[in-house]
Amino acid sequence: MSVEVRIPTILRPYTGGAKTVEAQGDSLSAVITDLDTRYTGIGERLVEEGSLRRFINVYLNDEDVRFLGGIDTPVADGDSVTILPAVAGG
């Protein structure tokens, strides 16, 4: 399973500046683990004690993964994963 992951500006130092990277895995958790093997340290910026960090939002094909299955959300070949810091509005 190969998915496209969009990396926010703040995490691009880990990916050598790349805005999007490819990653392998059949769940979000596996995708993050795969990212961390190549971009060491990125995993712990996203995950804390087995859950997504509070101020990180991750979207699978534009849907918030917290409403899908959290870190265990299954992903399929060709899916798009977007990582963004939480921001306010109003």
Binding site: I10, F55, Y59, D62, D64, R66, P85, A86, A88
Partner: protein
Amino acid sequence: MRFDSLLDSVGGTPLVGLPRLSPGPDVRLWAKLEDRNPTGSIKDRAALAMVEQAEKDGLLTPGCTILEPTSGNTGISLAMAARLKGYRLVCVMPENTSAERTQLLRMWGAEVVYSPGAGGSNEAVRVARRMSQEHPDWIMLYQYGNPANAQAHYDTTGPEILADLPTVTHFVAGLGTTGTLMGAGRYLREHQPGIQIVAAEPRYGELVYGLRNLDEGFVPELYDESVLTTRYSVGPRDAVRRVRQLLDEEGIFAGISTGAILHAAIGLGQRAVKAGETADIAFIVCDGGWKYLSTGAYEGTLDEAEDRLDGQVWA
């Protein structure tokens, strides 16, 4: 309809069907026209409720100064209420918002302090908190954590929708302070079993997400994810495409964030059609398009509009 004053006329907005954009006869879209509020946005409800609650609590007394971080609409609503009630208002607003927002705030008598564009509304919150410490006598209503914000929608927006559309199956709104979704969402969940409460969150350009540490992100204190069925992120291209479609096909001239909400609503509608379900999908038209004309969202190609909105806080 007759009211004793402008403030008494907040809310009670029309819910209009969208015969052309609805995906089918059994799956219908309904637009709640919040641009029909006194200052032209849904924020009049929350702003008035927060001011009146602070008056009841004895926090706001004549001559007080109100301080509020806002990307625009809440500030404009507060400015109108503050002018009519005799308060001074200082708004902290990101510098990368539309020019009309500053003009409107000043017209209603508010003072505007800009916060840096990088970081968007998060940065406005930080600046306002700092100013609040420097001016302990100023009252920060703080829309992101003020229960009166959500309560306004629990008391008015939610009941209005259910009264006008007793068959409502989905409620879709924008996610900013989360007040609309938390308040109306809770009311609708309590009174309409099985209803889906869906958030459409604007996805901005990179500048708005800032370069700070991720631990400095921001989740409004009002937010309770258990109220939501799900939450979608919608980028400027889809938002602009839908807001133009709303104008072309239904004649409704809405602000850009409404395009993001409509995009999510149409997606839910298409899913219901595929599943052979009946659905009545109510969504929020947050404001009219007037104060976004200078952004260029309504002219030229989608590519051009998308480029122009990059780096702007457009919702």
